[in-house]
């Protein structure tokens, strides 16, 4: 079967599985989320009409008058129309509005720091693997320590040292609250200043994985015959490093981008919490503590969708970069 069609098919199945899991979880778990939600809604001054109840029941279960498959179909239809319900903790805002407000923060923070970590790790890994046994290579095991450190604890340490003791960066938040969000220089500068520590945390915690993977692939690529041939031909070492070794060794790192993205997203959810960063991770945790089930499910769906989408793009690109994957399928 065509490589691209097969990948598209796989992600369609994965998407369907995520949607179904999202449908099944609240129905399988003990407790009655709909009642809790409606009670919260009334506290916030919302009016509970039978329609509201029905809408929440569709999302979270608890309405036994409708058969399960009918609930499932209605749930999918609602999702297709982008209706995720009303958030309780941000009443009366729609869940989709709350999400779209917090997306840019997370996308910029996580996206940028992941790209920086990947480039840095791959470059360092290529050099470490190029000359095994040098001082750079002997640093590699130290990255295990860095990788065994929980993201949020690293965040706590960095905040303590750089923000509290040295006072270089603000401890919490996403921007100076005195400014109004907008595309002016003051605001962007303050966003960069506030985002530096969370970004540093993500880069430090995830760079080791890239470095290690690239270094190991580099070492095994260097033992290939075509490297020996290239050396025998008298090519300059820099050319062999870039065009022969690193180019082939980087392929698994590209393919593994997908999996590491999942880790990074997971880690950044908690990192955002440490910094009270106004991104989607704090929203998810806020939703959990406030029993805002509709928002919780919306955020989960959105994160899953984003990770699946990024993976799909990487997989399709990979098919273009490495013709062997296309030939094999």
């Amino acid at each position: 079967m065509n490589y691209f069609l097969r990948k598209l098919g796989f992600y369609a199945v994965a998407l369907w599985a995520a949607l179904t899991v999202n449908f099944a979880i609240p129905r399988m778990m003990p407790g009655d989320p709909v009642d809790i939600l409606l009670a919260k809604l009334q506290q916030r001054g919302g009016t509970v009409t039978p329609e509201t109840r029905e809408a929440y029941a569709l999302l979270l279960g608890g309405d036994d008058s409708v058969p399960l498959w009918q609930q499932y179909l209605d749930y999918l239809r609602n999702l297709l129309r982008g209706e995720l319900g009303v958030s309780v903790s941000y009443y009366p805002a729609e869940v989709s509005d709350v999400i779209s407000q917090s997306i840019p923060w997370t996308v910029v923070l996580v996206g940028l720091s992941t790209v920086i970590a990947a480039c840095l790790g791959v470059a360092l890994g290529a050099f470490a693997g190029w000359r095994p046994g040098t001082w750079l290579d002997s640093l590699v095991p130290a990255t295990t320590l860095l990788a065994a450190v929980p993201y949020f604890w690293l965040a706590l340490l960095l905040t303590y040292v750089l923000a509290r003791v040295l006072g270089w960066f603000p401890m919490q938040g996403g921007y100076d609250v005195a400014l109004t969000p907008g595309w002016d220089a003051d605001f962007v500068l303050s966003a960069v200043r506030y985002g530096f520590l969370p970004a540093l945390t993500i880069v430090l915690a995830s760079v080791g994985a890239w470095l290690m993977g690239m270094r190991n692939m580099m070492v095994s690529t260097l033992s290939e015959d075509y490297i020996l041939t290239a050396e025998a031909k008298g090519l300059r070492p820099g050319r062999i490093l870039r065009n022969y070794a690193a180019r082939n060794a980087v392929l698994p790192s590209v393919a593994g981008f997908a999996i590491s993205l999942g880790f990074v997203v997971s880690g950044s959810v908690i990192t955002e919490q440490v910094f009270s960063y106004p991104g989607i991770g704090s929203r998810l945790l806020g939703a959990v503590t406030n029993n805002d089930y509709a928002l919780m499910q919306g955020v989960f769906l959105f994160i899953t969708l984003a990770v699946l989408g990024a993976n799909l793009v990487v997989d399709l690109l990979y098919g273009l970069i490495d013709p062997r994957t296309r030939a094999r399928s």
Partner: protein, 344 residues
């Protein structure tokens, strides 16, 4: 919650040539280790090939893991009550309280000992559960082949791309606090964490399954479960061991993250729980480093120790790595000897 070696392993599942080819070297290929330590020379060569050589990394890893485990096992017996409240809030480390006190005057060292035990417990539990799951889906699927294999590997790939922690957060969010016990958290973590190992095990099983001796066992009329348990499993043991170690690291880290945001097991105290209380007790802005540094450090030590042990297991799985290391050592020795000769 990154786990470098885990992602490296996951990479090799998809790697076009190099990593996958390296992985398929099993210990039954001829290995030429250097001179083995004296005590091991008594064993049969086959057994010796399975046993790792003692490297500084392995020694460091063992010291870390055994040390932390002993602290978790024996520590709680030696320290006082971790919940006892004193009129001595946020005291820095002193002779009486080696790691200071919390905001309510609780002994941090006592809490640390109990929390270490809790974290190790849940890490081990999840490690076992996740390894069993991944062994079932990875080995059984690959052995049966056909539709079963297709279905199982589709399932593990789907689980691999759905981000784990958000899923765990959502599940824990729906479980009411009172019914969120140790086992609930362990099962949730295991269910969301088995997929990467299953993929690695599947690739390994596929390579073992195609060998002649397995075919011979089948022709001889051995029952499928016997072929899997007696013929295939022993060859996979090093891989399973390394996947188990990964699973424990991942579990300790994820549990800490979950407890840190207040979604951990309600009836257990772990290192994550300590960090949760430290964060909510404003340890950071009050400058009480002795409250939040030790728990994270213990987590990091557990993770580092286990990863270092895993490096050595990797050498058992893939003798090429061991040969490379020994080659490098020989080169270093030769260089040193040459330098000495030059000097003299």
């Amino acid at each position: 919650m990154t786990n470098p070696v885990l992602s490296v392993d996951a990479l090799s599942g998809d790697a076009p040539s190099g990593a996958a080819a390296g992985r398929s070297h099993m210990p039954d290929q001829p290995v030429h280790p250097g001179r083995p330590p004296r005590t091991w020379r008594l064993m049969s060569p086959g057994l010796r090939a399975l046993l790792p050589t003692m490297t500084p990394w392995l020694a460091a890893g063992l010291v870390l893991v055994v040390g932390v485990t002993l602290f978790g096992l024996l520590g709680p017996l030696l320290v006082g009550d971790p919940r006892e409240i004193r009129d001595l809030g946020l005291a820095p480390p002193s002779a009486e309280f080696l790691l200071g006190t919390t905001q309510t005057g609780q002994d941090v060292l006592a809490q640390l000992a109990h929390a270490t035990r809790g974290s190790l417990e849940i890490g081990f539990l999840v490690g076992v559960l996740a390894t069993v799951l991944s062994a079932f889906f990875g080995i059984y699927g690959a052995y049966r082949g056909g539709v079963v294999d297709e279905a199982f590997s589709l399932l593990s790939n789907v689980f691999l791309v759905i981000p784990g922690l958000p899923l765990v957060i959502v599940i824990s969010g729906f479980v009411p606090r009172e019914s969120r016990g140790l086992w609930t958290i362990a099962v949730v973590l295991a269910v969301t964490g088995w997929a990467a190992s299953a993929r690695v095990l599947r690739a390994q099983t596929l390579s073992v399954r195609g060998r002649d001796y397995v075919a011979a066992a089948r022709v001889a009329g051995e029952r499928p479960w016997r072929v899997i348990v007696v013929e295939i499993l022993p060859n996979l043991l090093p891989v399973i061991a390394s996947q188990f170690v990964f699973a424990v690291i991942a579990a300790v880290l994820s549990e800490a993250g979950l407890s840190f945001i207040g979604l951990g097991a309600s009836n257990s105290a772990t290192l994550g729980t300590m960090l949760f209380y430290a964060q909510n007790g404003f340890a950071l802005s009050l400058g009480a480093w002795w409250w939040f540094v030790p728990p994270g450090l213990v987590i990091a030590l557990i993770g580092t120790g286990l990863s270092l042990i895993n490096f050595t297991i990797d050498e058992v799985i893939n003798p090429r790595l061991r040969n490379q290391r020994e080659q490098r050592r020989r080169v270093r020795r030769a260089r040193r000897a040459a330098r000495k000769e030059q000097l003299s």
